[in-house]
């Protein structure tokens, strides 16, 4: 009996050691922390065939990426893809990223203005942390057959739309409404008192708007389900989701609001304890090749910062893009500047109060 227990223990330890060993011997893997669609199977297979490096993809979002990396002090992944406005504050607060060695990046493949902008916005203490990858906008997705006259975010709160619209209870909604109400939240980023005053006005508007809300959507799939079924006729959402719906139902279109669509750029950023930096640089240079970037555009529905990839992108998406943006509205896109630490606590309370407010 006694012997049996001990033998069992020995076997258990042996298995444990074996499992632990397996983890460390697979050196040539790239653990990628990214968004859905940014690492399609086809591209991963092409990369594996070319370099012999296995890619492990973990799908995530901005907050989740920061939380995951914060919990481990920046280990567990070799390459992350946070949005550029969220890199600097997370780095300052939690020290989870590693500066990027730009000499290892094939800069000729990247649109120069975007590279420059991302480098500037993700600079902390003179070191650059990110290079751009995918960019896109959020604006309005409208079912033109069931709703008319929706041109800006505030129109979602108009009459005859009771229980018919949807948006997220997250910071882009606050920012979008602030712009639509004629204020400039980005200019107030450095001035907490002004920002708080802006938020107070937006809070009031969003509480008054609550009767129009069908449900606050929490993920892209929930949003698409609401609009596809016609349960919601207008929503604030991402361009890619809007174009996807447009392909299924031409009545649903993605439009840039009159106050300007909100533009974001998702980056490549190295976690502080990345274990395979070389593979990370190889992956970046690989996916920024125009023909590979076009495949990612097809999968994610968003365009990339890769130079010359447009001509590989399928015609339908280009048409949808042209339907949503003209040179003027394209110029009016409001790009998110880096979020200073502390603002999000303020926004959080406003969002909580909106959620808690009774519908009138």
């Amino acid at each position: 009996m006694q012997r049996g227990t001990q033998n069992g223990m020995v076997a258990l330890i042996a298995v444990a050691v074996l499992v632990a060993g397996m983890g460390t011997t697979r050196a040539e893997t790239l653990r990628l922390l990214t968004w859905g669609g940014y690492a399609p199977d086809e591209v991963v297979e092409m990369f594996e065939a070319e370099t012999g490096i296995d890619v492990e993809v973990t799908k995530s979002n901005n907050e989740d990426m920061i939380s995951k990396l914060r919990a481990t002090g920046g280990s567990g992944f070799d390459l992350a893809q946070p949005s550029q406005d969220r890199v600097a504050s997370a780095q300052v607060d939690h020290d989870i990223y590693k500066p990027m060695d730009l000499s290892k990046i094939d800069e000729d493949q990247i649109v120069t203005s975007m590279l420059q902008s991302t480098n500037d916005k993700t600079e902390v203490d003179g070191k650059v942390y990110s290079v751009p990858h995918v960019w896109g906008t959020s604006g309005l997705i409208v079912n033109t057959k069931l709703a008319s006259g929706i041109k800006d975010y505030t129109d979602l709160c108009g009459p005859n739309l009771e229980d018919k619209v949807s948006y997220r209870l997250k910071r882009p909604t606050l920012i979008g409404f602030a712009f639509a109400m004629g204020m400039d939240p980005f200019a107030a980023y450095e001035n907490p008192a002004t920002y708080e005053a802006i938020l107070a006005k937006v809070e009031e508007a969003l509480i008054a708007c609550k009767k129009n809300v069908k449900a606050y959507w929490t993920g892209g799939d929930a949003l698409i389900a609401l609009l596809r079924s016609g349960e919601a006729v207008a929503a604030m959402g991402w361009d890619a989701g809007g174009w996807k719906l447009n392909s299924e139902n031409p009545d649903i279109v993605y439009i840039a609001p009159t106050s300007g669509a909100l533009g974001w750029i998702d980056t490549f950023t190295l976690p502080r304890k990345t274990e395979n930096e070389e593979a990370a640089y190889k992956w970046i240079n690989f996916v920024m090749r125009p023909e590979v970037a076009a495949k990612i555009t097809a999968a994610a529905g968003n365009f990339t910062a890769s130079k010359g990839s447009e001509k590989f992108v399928e015609e339908k998406l280009q048409k949808q893009f042209a339907q949503s943006f003209n040179p003027v509205t394209l110029g009016e896109i409001k790009w998110y500047p880096p979020v200073p630490p502390g603002l999000e606590v303020m926004e959080g309370k406003v969002l909580d109060r909106i959620q808690a407010a009774k519908t009138n």
């Binding site: 939380s67 020290d95 449900a215 349960e231 909580d352």
Partner: protein, 287 residues
């Protein structure tokens, strides 16, 4: 006389897994969480010890209300689960025999073969405006327009009760099974009607089962995240959702940890009050 050393080693090995499990997965994380909850961020990467996070919970009515709402809804869900589960359990334990008993018990178990997420999505498909129930009502002419049954507190309640059923049925069936039928017969023989027999014989006997079932259901409901999040509407608030938000979307681990501790303490207090009010003890319910 002391115990032989090999028996002590055996006992030690026997207890090792549970001790490690408790220490590594329960006690250590809680100690860490307690420490985190007692600090506040003063500047980037700089923290000071303070009770501010706990003060925040009691001074900001929003958080306090969310907790109260969650607790009240959980108690309601527990009572409703009990009201529905008791007749079901009584029927399974006392009215049917043999194979149909096993069959009915299995029927209660079947929904738990799929994950909670799938079950919740099932309810979403049934209840949504373009969903099955709404279409059926429209087709049968009972309503002349589609009705939205999802995204309200009633939907949350349905989901919670459904999710908790099994955890109430199992302890109830076990305790009711142990009730000797002759006691019930004696009750009738002595002139009792169904009501007095139920009140003076069946319920007192089932009390430990009711208490343990209620504790499990209450704790599960209070700690549920998925169901209120998916089925709840634009006004719905749930305390666990608040904790998740603090941790994940606000990066405010300090406040989130404090909330976690408050949830633990306050829910334990509610269970304690419940036990006191019903005259039960924790040791009797686990027997």
């Amino acid at each position: 006389m002391s115990t032989p050393p090999q028996i002590r080693l055996g006992l030690l090995l026997l207890f090792a897994p549970i001790v490690f499990w408790l220490a590594l997965l329960v006690i250590l994380p809680h100690v860490d969480m307690l420490l985190i909850s007692l600090r506040v961020r003063v500047a980037p990467r700089e923290y000071a010890t303070s009770l501010a996070n706990y003060a925040e919970f009691f001074t900001e009515p929003l958080y306090w209300n969310t907790f109260a709402r969650t607790a009240i809804m959980s108690v309601t869900a527990t009572v409703m689960t009990l009201l529905i589960a008791f007749p079901v359990s009584y029927y399974i334990a006392k009215m049917v025999r043999g194979r149909s008993k096993t069959f009915l018990f299995l029927l209660c178990l079947t929904p738990f073969w799929v994950s909670e997420l799938v079950r919740t999505f099932g309810w979403m498909i049934l209840l949504r405006e373009t969903g099955i129930v709404s279409s059926l009502l429209l087709w049968s002419g009972l309503t002349d327009a589609r009705v939205e049954l999802l995204y309200n507190d009633a939907a949350i309640m349905v989901g919670l009760v459904y999710t908790s059923m099994l955890f109430m049925v199992v302890p109830l069936v076990t305790t009711l099974d142990s009730l000797d039928d002759s006691l019930v017969e004696a009750g009738y023989d002595l002139g009792g009607n169904s009501f007095t027999v139920m009140r003076h014989i069946v319920i007192p006997h089932a009390m430990p089962g009711i208490a343990s079932g209620s504790i499990v259901v209450f704790m599960l409901t209070l700690g549920n995240y998925l169901t209120p999040k998916l089925l709840g509407g634009k006004d719905s608030l749930w305390f666990t959702d608040q904790i998740y938000t603090q941790f994940i979307t606000r990066f405010n681990w300090e406040l989130g940890s404090a909330f976690g501790f408050l949830l633990l303490v306050l829910s334990s207090a509610i269970v304690w009050i419940g036990l006191k009010l019903s005259g039960q003890t924790l040791s009797a319910t686990v027997r």
